[in-house]
């Protein structure tokens, strides 16, 4: 293994990432914009935190193909969680509660997914098979997610290469977690069942920045259809990271793409440092075979403790366990991520699996701190025969949990001799990540016997293909060629009005620059003024642009006109006044010049500006600016003569 040591985030170069063999792939979950949920007829996309009823369930692991319990399953079973589902009648029916079998798949959702699959250049599946993907954390009341593959083997161009799309799935969204304290986890069920696509890329990204860039690209591609949901939580990224010698680790629930680089950097560093830790253990002669540890109930040591956490635990009749990790001295302080040490890996496991959720949930001899007195440490070490080369970890909680916690300390410490455990990890705000659960095996997929296979006809695919937006990169190249301002290109290509733009630029021969400004910038400006831009539909925009094309209005008048439309709620026709006639303009110019006649100005130029201002106020959009200015300046000059 290379001697390389991770540098601070900003100093890492692509070459550094190449040295550690950084590889990353994405799994992007994107909600689809459908009226209904995927397997029932509840409304999709309606959220509320109020609820009418609660139900309680437990999840039991089912046996895997080989008759073994899946690692994740076992872990979730160990936690013995009570799962509470909050039910809102308006958003949830008996299907989501797992009391009614599924209804047939939502055809709109399927159309959208198939369309996106074609944008990814996937091989589209001829016949869909709905599968059940087990989830034992309770996030889905059935204990599995209904999911299906619609396309495989796609690709999108990136830099000088392609990023491979392994598969595109269509599946139902899971519950929103409300809380997870002790042995009780609570979920809101409103999001459950909303159609979602899952885009899985190959681990083709070589640096943290590439991961973020590709995530952005994929996001823009799906948005270009105008048929996906936007807003908080509508798109969520999972990132897979590995380094040479490491393991594929999945970081779940990255809420925003800009967080990806730091998160993936930290995961790369974590894996690298865990591999270095393994090397250090090996140097000390500790391998999976020689690893030794012991645990014991040491409650009696703390009868009189002043350490508040343990004191209050004991007051509730709880138990304290000590764990001796042979030869681990100082290794609990081993750095894993930025400002994070190996002890955190252990504490996370204890928290998640033994449900010791009140923090701190452990202390250890590598950073004794102020918590326990040295006498207490001495006593605890003595009770457990802890030698100078050993580390001691102390956990506390209800008897069964504390015991399980002690076992987990040993399990995680032993895994350090193997390297990087297969885990699903959770993105944290500071850019590091924490343990969520053991990475599930491939055996958690099995066929959904409740639904028949569904054949996808060529006619269906062709019908969808005919309405697809051109591939986003093609679009953007074309924008560039025809002179859309560079800062607008990326917005326009995913704008819901991209098709309108094409009509304007191709069929009506309007200036691409003008149209792109109207379609991209104007809504933003109007929004800043607090106007209800959501009412600005394609129809209205098409009408105003048509008015420009037909010469009924000048471009200067567009923004004020749209502003009036939104503010007054009036019809466009009512607001679209006729152009100024030559005579009207002439009269106005005379009036304006007269009104300013006795005013003093710094110069003729500012007189001209003021006059033009007044003229615009009256005729904006109904006269052509340049021509009017020319007329005005001629008139002024005439007046001087």
């Amino acid at each position: 293994m290379s001697e390389f040591v991770f540098k601070p985030f900003e100093e890492m170069t692509p070459e550094d990432y190449a040295v550690v063999g950084f590889k990353s792939g994405l799994e992007i979950h994107q909600q689809l914009l459908t009226e209904k949920k995927l397997f029932c007829r509840c409304p999709a996309g309606r959220y509320s935190t109020t609820y009418d009823a609660e139900i309680l369930r437990h999840m039991r692991p089912t046996l895997s193909e080989l008759g073994e319990y899946d690692g994740t399953a076992l872990m979730e079973f160990k936690t013995k969680k009570e799962i509470i589902y909050r039910i809102n009648r308006d958003t949830v029916c008996t299907y989501e509660m797992d009391d009614t079998p599924p209804f047939m798949i939502d055809e709109d959702a399927l159309d959208i997914a198939l369309g996106i699959g074609m944008l990814y250049d996937c091989i589209m599946v001829d016949e869909l098979h709905i599968a059940r993907k087990q989830y034992l954390d309770g996030s889905i009341p059935t204990g599995f997610q209904r999911t299906t593959i619609v396309g495989v083997d796609g690709k999108i161009p990136y830099k000088d290469r392609f990023i491979r799309i392994v598969q595109l799935g269509l599946e139902e969204d899971a519950c929103r977690e409300v809380s997870d304290v002790g042995h009780r986890r609570t979920y809101l069920t409103d999001r459950l069942g909303i159609p979602l696509i899952e885009t899985v890329t190959a681990p083709d990204m070589k640096t943290p920045h590439e991961v973020a860039e590709v995530a952005q690209m994929l996001r823009r591609i799906v948005r270009s259809t105008g048929k996906v949901r936007t807003g908080t939580g509508a798109a969520r990224e999972d990132v897979n990271v590995s380094v040479t010698g490491g393991t594929r680790v999945e970081i779940k629930g990255v809420p925003r793409i800009p967080r990806i680089p730091l998160l993936t950097y930290n995961e790369g560093m974590r894996q690298w440092n865990l591999l270095r830790l393994r090397a250090e253990l090996a140097r000390r002669g500790i391998t999976a075979q020689t690893f030794a540890a012991a645990s014991e109930d040491i409650t009696k040591v703390f009868r009189k403790t002043q350490f508040l956490s343990i004191q209050s635990a004991l007051a509730k009749g709880m138990t304290v366990y000590g764990v001796r990790l042979n030869g681990f001295k100082d290794l609990l302080r081993w750095q894993t991520q930025t400002n994070t040490t190996f002890s955190q890996e252990i504490s996370d496991r204890v928290r998640v699996i033994a449900c010791l959720t009140t923090l701190p949930n452990m202390v250890h001899s590598d950073s004794p701190g102020e918590a326990l007195t040295s006498a207490e440490w001495q006593m605890a070490k003595k009770t457990l025969n802890t030698g100078d080369e050993d580390a001691l970890v102390i956990v506390w909680g209800p008897e069964a949990d504390a015991k399980l916690g002690a076992q987990e300390v040993i399990i995680r410490a032993k895994e350090a001799t193997i390297g990087v455990p297969s885990e699903t990890r959770q993105a944290l705000k500071d850019g590091t990540n924490g343990f969520e659960r053991i990475l599930p095996g491939p055996n958690r997929m099995y066929p959904d016997t409740d639904l028949p296979p569904k054949s996808i006809t060529t006619e269906r695919l062709e019908r969808i293909r005919a309405k697809l937006p051109p591939y986003i990169m093609t679009r953007e190249r074309w924008y560039k060629e025809i002179g859309v301002p560079a800062d607008l290109i990326q917005f326009l290509s995913v704008s819901p009005f991209a098709n309108l733009f094409e009509r304007c630029a191709n069929d009506w021969d309007l200036s691409p620059k003008l149209v792109s400004v109207v379609l991209v910038q104007y809504p933003k400006r109007l929004k800043k003024k607090g106007l209800p831009v959501e009412k600005l539909n394609e129809e209205t925009l098409e009408a105003v642009l048509k008015a420009v094309k037909e010469g009924k209005i000048f471009k200067e008048g567009l923004l004020p006109l749209l502003e009036q439309v939104l503010a007054s709620g009036k019809n466009l026709d009512e607001l679209l006044l006729p152009k100024a006639t030559e005579r009207e303009l002439r009269e106005s110019i005379e009036q304006v010049v007269m009104s300013l006649k006795n005013r003093k100005f710094a110069g003729e130029e500012s007189r001209m500006r003021r006059a033009m201002g007044l003229l615009m106020e009256k005729w904006r959009g109904r006269m052509e600016g340049t021509a009017a200015a020319l007329k005005l300046s001629l008139f002024l000059k005439e007046g001087q003569q």
Partner: protein, 462 residues
């Protein structure tokens, strides 16, 4: 291996293509099509599916169907046939724990799924059950016997009789309680007939099933099994009962009397309800809480009476407006000896049926009236039409549920042809099938939307 097995489930074009490439099911293959390449394992196909697609399990675990017509090449790389088996662990024996016998009739109370084909494999031996629900060992010493392997809708006289006889044998052997695994669809029919065929049982006889199969993490099977085994092992209720979820939440089960219970929802977990009365008890993993005291108590003797009489020529007629007499006539013409009518309201049918009822009376066919409202009693005196029908020999069946009246009439007619004797037996309750009174809490159908009910539901996780 036969060809059918080599290409299991395939037919038509798909079968031709697989045969052409000699790609049997379970082959690991690379399939080239006009669209692209796929790698995976060829799976058996369900018989009901179309003849046009080949099912492939991808490495990711997902299955997809490939249009057989688009296949241009198949490269066979290996073979990966999977045989699934429930892991067996020896069920621990504890001399201090009671003996419970689990009789299987074919329902899949415990099962697991063949992950590739979706086929359900039942778990049944004590070892398999212990492998799936280890908690059972904390309750009892479990023995099992598979009586039949039929789906619930295929249960019939042969199975009823076989089960009743098996119960008699087990009581003779001295078990502490019996659990009967059964599909849920007709569990209440079986519960009712066993209530008649097994008289004077000294021990609990508990029927149990599941609404969500046990291959699902959210299954109700494990908890139902625990509840039923606990009831069989520990309760002092020596009756035939159905033990299924009380609420949809994993909180407790209800013990329903075998003659008053009915499946009331096609898919809900808490589908079984006691009709016209309240359940006998609640059961949780910790305790059994009786809700009433008028149940038969557990005894130490073995004085059970098994009476397996059953006349098959009995039918239920579910009356609907505009029913024509030929429905009744055809039963008469086909030699039926007993008819249970589920009538409207208090127990009515329309006048055009009267001549047919008269024919039935003349042929000495036993005709009993029940109500399709399920709740409430038959009362044929209130309206003239009711009196007319009684004149025609229709006998009011009190508050016997239609299905219960059906199995009881079959049981009674299996014992006697004497219509007076039949009537006497039909109207004398043997196992709570009719009750003298309906308690005021015997009709509580929560009606959603009503504020009190909503408050209750939101508070108690129903």
């Amino acid at each position: 291996m036969t060809e059918t097995n080599l290409y299991k489930g395939y037919k038509g074009r798909a079968l031709e293509v697989l045969k052409h490439f000699r790609a049997e099911v379970w082959s690991e293959v690379k399939i080239t099509t006009t669209k692209g390449e796929y790698t995976g394992i060829i799976l058996p196909r369900s018989q009901a599916d179309d003849p046009l697609h080949i099912v492939l399990k991808l490495r990711s675990g997902y299955n997809i169907g490939i249009a057989a017509g688009s296949v241009t090449a198949v490269e066979i790389q290996g073979r990966k046939e999977a045989h699934y088996k429930i892991p067996e662990k020896e069920f621990p024996y504890d001399p201090k724990k009671p003996r419970v016998k689990l009789l299987g009739t074919g329902g899949t109370i415990a099962s697991r799924l063949d992950y590739r084909t979706g086929e359900v494999i039942p778990a049944f031996s004590p070892g398999e059950l212990y492998g799936s629900v280890p908690e059972l060992a904390d309750i009892c010493n479990l023995e099992t016997e598979k009586l039949f392997g039929v789906f619930s809708e295929n249960m019939g006289p042969e199975q009823y009789i076989g089960t009743a006889q098996a119960i008699g044998r087990e009581i003779e052997k001295g078990v502490h309680g019996i659990v009967i695994g059964h599909g849920t669809d007709t569990m209440h029919h079986t519960a009712a007939i066993l209530s008649f065929m097994v008289q004077n049982s000294p021990i609990p006889i508990v029927m149990v099933g599941s609404q969500r199969s046990s291959d699902r993490p959210s299954s109700d099977a494990a908890l139902n099994l625990m509840h039923s085994v606990k009831t069989a092992a520990e309760s002092d209720i020596a009756e035939v009962m159905v033990c299924m979820f009380g609420p949809t939440s994993d909180i407790y089960g209800l013990l329903h009397r075998g003659t008053r219970v009915r499946k009331m929802h096609s898919s809900y977990r808490s589908t079984f309800r006691t009709i016209g009365d309240i359940p006998i008890a609640m059961v949780s993993r910790d305790k059994i809480t009786p809700l009433r005291q008028d149940y038969k108590r557990r005894r130490n003797d073995k004085n059970v009476v098994i009476n397996t009489a059953f006349e098959e020529k009995v039918s239920i007629v579910y009356y609907y407006p505009n029913m024509k007499p030929d429905i009744i006539d055809s039963l008469i013409d086909n030699g039926y000896r007993g008819i249970v009518i589920a009538g409207t309201g208090l127990g009515h049918v329309n006048k055009p049926l009267y001549p047919a009822l008269k024919r039935a009376q003349d042929r000495k066919i036993a005709v009993y009236m029940t109500v399709q409202t399920l709740w409430g009693y038959v009362q044929m005196y209130v309206y003239d039409t009711g009196r007319d029908m009684m004149e025609l020999g229709v006998i009011p069946g009190a508050n016997m549920l239609p299905e219960v009246a059906y199995v009881k009439l079959a049981w009674v007619l299996g014992q006697t042809n004497d219509l007076d004797e039949v009537m006497k037996m039909m109207l004398t309750p043997i196992a709570g099938e009719t009750t003298e009174r309906e308690p005021s809490n015997g009709y509580l159908i929560f009606q959603g939307g009503v504020p009190e009910v909503e408050e209750f539901i939101s508070k108690y996780r129903k």
